[in-house]
């Protein structure tokens, strides 16, 4: 999978309330509607700044706080192609994989707001075209690759009717 777009950069500890506020998420299952409010408490006009395919770029501990799956879904439905962060909170990370939002752990200090990026997940590298640097991507844990390869957890369950995962030592969450 290869994605191309521009970086929208935020800081450390971006919690799921910031990604999608509680005051919206309880009201609807229409994720396109929720997507309009993505990151609103940090940048009220954020949704209008997105060009489809852009990246959400952050520092440490992205997605901390609540377990709301509306967070990765709102990011996905805002047509952001992936989240790049130095580290992720664990529930958000699982939710992102389960719902098919690519989450990429990498050194985001090498990305500035507006940088043009090509994210090559298969090769495990991000090309920052603006700065002409290649940024290494931390590989996905194998158990999560299995879920992704099945097309997400719902598809995995349609296929097997249960969790059918290789149980071994891993670097998963």
């Amino acid at each position: 999978m290869e994605f191309k777009g521009r970086a929208h950069k935020f800081g450390d500890d971006i919690n799921t309330d910031y990604i999608i506020s509680g005051k919206y998420k309880f009201k609807t299952l229409d994720m396109n509607e929720l997507a309009k409010h993505v990151m609103e408490d940090l940048d009220q006009d954020f949704y209008n700044k997105i060009t489809p395919g852009d990246f959400l770029v952050a520092g440490r501990n992205f997605g901390c706080g609540s377990s709301r799956e509306q967070a990765p879904l709102a990011v996905k439905h805002a047509r952001l192609s992936a989240v790049l962060a130095k580290s992720f909170a664990r529930i958000f990370y699982r939710n992102a994989i389960n719902t098919g939002l690519p989450v990429v752990e990498c050194d985001t200090d090498q990305i500035e707001p507006g940088d043009e990026l090509v994210v090559d997940l298969a090769a495990g590298v991000i090309h920052n075209l603006t700065r002409a640097v290649a940024i290494e991507v931390k590989p996905l844990p194998s158990v999560m690759l299995q879920i992704l390869n099945d097309g997400g957890l719902a598809a995995h369950f349609r296929k097997y009717g249960e969790f059918k995962l290789d149980q071994e030592e891993d670097n998963a969450l």
Binding site: Y18, G22, K23, F26, S67, E69, S87, Q167
Partner: protein, 417 residues
């Protein structure tokens, strides 16, 4: 090699001997969803072509986050949950019954050694009962509803040794805020926390719930404590039996052991807009507040209401302050009525709202206005958390909230206790 509490529970539940780093598919004892997460879980259940629950007697859906419903759209999602509960035979806790975590603690079905997943990040609360309980998203929850299982990476453990007794006027909330300030919001990410030491042993079980509840605010997957008489007394009170304590081995391996002497700890507060932005109350005393909130899954229990009523008895809250009280469950509501605590709190100027989460999550029951400052016993103070990004939220103990409500500004509760 010795095992930590979580290594033992996950070994029991996956029927093999596992250690940190292993991937397991483990059996779960109880599965819970609330009204912010269950509708998506029901969608995911359909997408997975789920036909029935693994065991309807071990599944509960709770309507607590927007309860009673403030909007027609929310009402429709509540009805979706009610229909699903009727269809599958699981337990539904409806409007007024309370906050999901308090209700789970009151089932008698969760105790030492249990494994619980809940589609709410504060599911870690039951760690105070020596259970491994953790928050998951809606799709993971649907997987558990169907299979009665969940996959986990067995985490390493960070141990907090809290030595010494907490001084008078300083509570478990002050302790957990202090610890979060020490390790920060991702200081325990991917780790299981074990809270030990004299200060934890001395605490009531309700006070321990407050500590375990906030393990997620340091990023932890679980916030575990050892079981003792207080643990078993609590479980027995709700008809639970057959649980066996799970203790860490003396030679268990920890990622980190942090030791603190808490005998001189001051009341602590989390400042806007992060839970790990912690300061001793003395640095913030005098900050004016316009709203005070006592309740939530962190601090809406009997002990909390008793402490608050003890401070407010015969006193009035400042005319500058709106004072909101949300008992954590119907049982607590009734007990607080019987003890006269609600009378005390209401006569002091308080407004009691339906047991539930509303004021904490910004759905209703106390959204602050622009520029206002709120002091709450909740567990999160993110910008916009209570429904207004232009308000500021401080977090503290019920005693601190009660004392500050009287003075209309952040006040050390030790002036009153």
């Amino acid at each position: 090699m010795g095992q930590t509490i979580i290594e033992k529970i996950l070994s029991n539940k996956s029927r093999k001997n596992v250690g940190a780093g292993d991937i397991v598919v483990a059996s779960v004892d109880y599965v819970m969803g609330q009204d912010g997460t269950s509708p998506l879980a029901i969608n995911a259940y359909r997408a997975m072509e789920g036909k029935k629950l693994f065991d309807p007697a071990r599944v509960a859906l709770v309507i607590d986050h927007s309860s009673p419903s403030p909007l027609e759209a929310v009402s429709n999602l509540h009805t979706l949950m009610r229909s699903f509960a009727r269809e599958t035979g699981c337990k539904l806790y409806d409007v007024g019954e309370g906050v999901c975590h308090q209700l789970m603690l009151e089932t008698g079905r969760i105790g030492p050694g249990s494994l619980v997943v809940g589609a709410d990040s504060h599911t870690c609360t039951y760690g105070a009962l020596n259970a491994f309980s953790t928050g998951v998203g809606s799709t993971d929850l649907a997987g558990a509803l169907i299979s009665g299982k969940m996959w986990f990476k067995v985490p390493e453990t960070i141990k907090f040794a809290c030595n010494g007794k907490l001084p008078p006027g300083v509570y478990s909330k002050d302790l957990i805020l202090f610890l979060i300030g020490q390790v920060t919001a991702d200081g325990a990410t991917y780790l299981s926390a074990e809270y030990t030491g004299e200060a934890i042993r001395e605490m009531s079980i309700e006070a321990r719930f407050t500590v375990a509840n906030m393990a997620i605010e340091m990023g932890a997957k679980a916030g575990l404590m050892e079981a003792d008489e207080k643990t078993f007394d609590w479980v027995k009170r709700f008809g639970g039996s057959g649980f066996e304590a799970v203790a860490a081995d003396a030679d268990a391996v920890y990622a980190k052991i942090l030791e603190y002497d808490v005998s001189a700890l001051e009341p602590q507060l989390a400042k806007p807009h992060q839970v790990d932005n912690v300061a001793p109350l003395s640095e913030l005393a005098g900050t004016p507040i316009q709203q005070a909130v006592i309740g939530t899954c962190t601090n809406g229990r009997m002990e909390d209401l008793r402490i608050a009523a003890g401070i407010l008895k015969g006193r009035k809250v400042s005319p500058e302050v709106r004072f909101i009280i949300a008992p954590a469950s119907r049982d607590i509501y009734v007990q607080a009525m019987r003890e006269g605590l609600l009378e005390t709190l209401v006569l002091a100027g308080g407004a009691v709202v339906t047991p539930g989460c509303g004021p904490c999550v910004g759905t209703h029951n106390g959204v602050p206005s622009d520029g206002e400052t709120v002091l709450s016993t909740a567990n999160r103070n993110f910008k916009g958390r209570m429904g207004n990004r232009n308000a500021e939220i401080y977090l503290g103990s019920p005693a601190t909230v009660a004392a500050s409500a009287i003075k209309g500004k952040i006040t050390d509760p030790r002036e009153f206790v």
